[in-house]
Amino acid sequence: MACNVTHLKLFQYLDGELSEEQRSELESHLASCRDCRHLADLERSFHQTYLAPLRPDPAPERVREQVARLLDALPDQQPRSAGWRRPSAVGLLVGLAFVLFGGVLWLSLQRPWHATNAPLIRLAEASVEQHQKLARGVLPHDITHGTPKAVEQWFKGRLDFNVSLPELTRDDLTFLGGRISHLRDLDVAALHYRVEGKDVSLFIIPLERYQKLGLGESPKFKMVTHQGYDVIVWSSHGAAYSLVSEIGDRSCLVCHSREEKLDFPTDSRVHDKL
């Protein structure tokens, strides 16, 4: 092997990235060439002196504490629905059987609208997951204060749709912050409030994507209870919303005054058992 080729291969050699054959050739050359051997020795010394002792900087204590809290809060079982994955063949058959069975059952019993409303359940499930992260501080706010207009402006240009925030007129409402978040594969605006000492998350969804879920217009406000959280889903004025709290329809105070009468048909509730 010539000196210039040795120079070309020296880093790969020292990084242990040469094939056995190339390494052997290079070492034969080093054994016979004093200049190249000197260069290799210098490189080795440089590495051992300045680079080998380097270690990753220790994570700060606050990060260790945050991570410890997060790890403790992980469920004992991994979430069953880690995104809409491609189903296995067996899963597909079982799913098909369930769909057929469910369809027949639905036709025979003519149950209320929510009986087969899987998209709503999935939307609620994803909303609760994001709400928990916001409430635990796992997802920090990207914007923490400002008038609704200023917050809307912050979202403008970052999302593909216009974000319109509710006017906050009540004293018992606190805006904690907002960020871009995602419900599954859907980019949404996430707003975090506190009402009656409880966390409330409002996710604003592009209407076009909401409409593809096929949830229908009636009832206007669809309420799902999932893992102890109340999720209210609706569309209005060119956008759709998913609101998560532990205080039922009182969380509607985020957008509505106490005096307003809101129509919550009792059969619009779904007590999701997921």
Binding site: H7, L8, K9, L10, F11, Q12, D15, G16, E17, L39, L42, E43, S45, F46, T49, Y50, L51, P53, L54, R55, P56, D57, P58, A59, P60, V63, R64, Q66, V67, L70, L71, L74, P75, D76, Q77, Q78, P79, A82, G83, K133, V138, L139, P140, D142, G157, R158, I180, H182, D187
Partner: protein
């Protein structure tokens, strides 16, 4: 072993590296915290598919890089990337390929000055982002070219070129701090 317990143990073992990489990508404390936590949540969700014979650290870094790219895309921030601009500026007779893989700078002078490890660490921190990423993954995390290529989703040739340029800049900075001379000098006498 229970999956949650195993995940916790592997995460804690790699926490310093993960935080370090999050910081390299975001260059910001609070964004690094956010990215780290988002990565852990994604990783836990996908932990069932993690192949145990592969490096957990490389698997996590790959998830972190993807989470970072997604986040940048959501926030409409153009990722910091800089590519090779071509052979212009190279001395006559020195092709891009020769330049990329050659030993960049004689380290003898730097060795003689006995710099502190913290000076070296600081010089690495000051490297441009794309080079710092590769230099840290190689020199501090001791990852192979192949692992780095997987993490940054670039060909091995790109890893090698960034590593070369990063090492060259690092040595220039160290030499500057050791001798006050700014101009780099290669082992080819250029």
């Amino acid at each position: 072993m229970d999956q949650k317990v195993e995940f916790q143990a592997l995460t804690l073992r790699n926490l310093d590296s993960m935080y370090g990489y999050a910081h390299i990508l975001t260059r910001n404390d609070s964004e690094a915290d956010d990215l780290l936590q988002e990565t852990l949540l994604r990783a836990f969700r996908a932990f069932g598919s993690y192949k145990r014979h592969l490096s957990f650290k490389v698997w996590l870094f790959k998830i972190m890089k993807n989470a970072f790219i997604d986040r940048e895309r959501r926030l409409r921030v153009r990722p910091v990337e800089e590519e090779w601009k071509g052979d212009e500026g190279l001395p006559k007779g020195l092709t891009k390929e020769l330049f990329l893989y050659a030993v960049p700078l004689d380290p003898e002078e730097i060795l003689l000055r006995r710099l502190t490890i913290e000076e070296v660490r600081e010089a690495i921190r000051r490297l441009p982002a794309v080079m710092r990423e590769v230099v840290e993954l190689r020199e501090i995390e001791e990852l192979s070219y192949q692992d780095i290529a997987v993490i940054i989703a670039k060909p091995i040739g790109t890893v090698m070129s960034r590593l070369y340029r990063g090492r060259n800049l690092l040595r220039s900075a160290l030499q500057e701090s050791a001798t006050g001379r700014a101009k780099p000098r290669s082992s080819y006498g250029l």
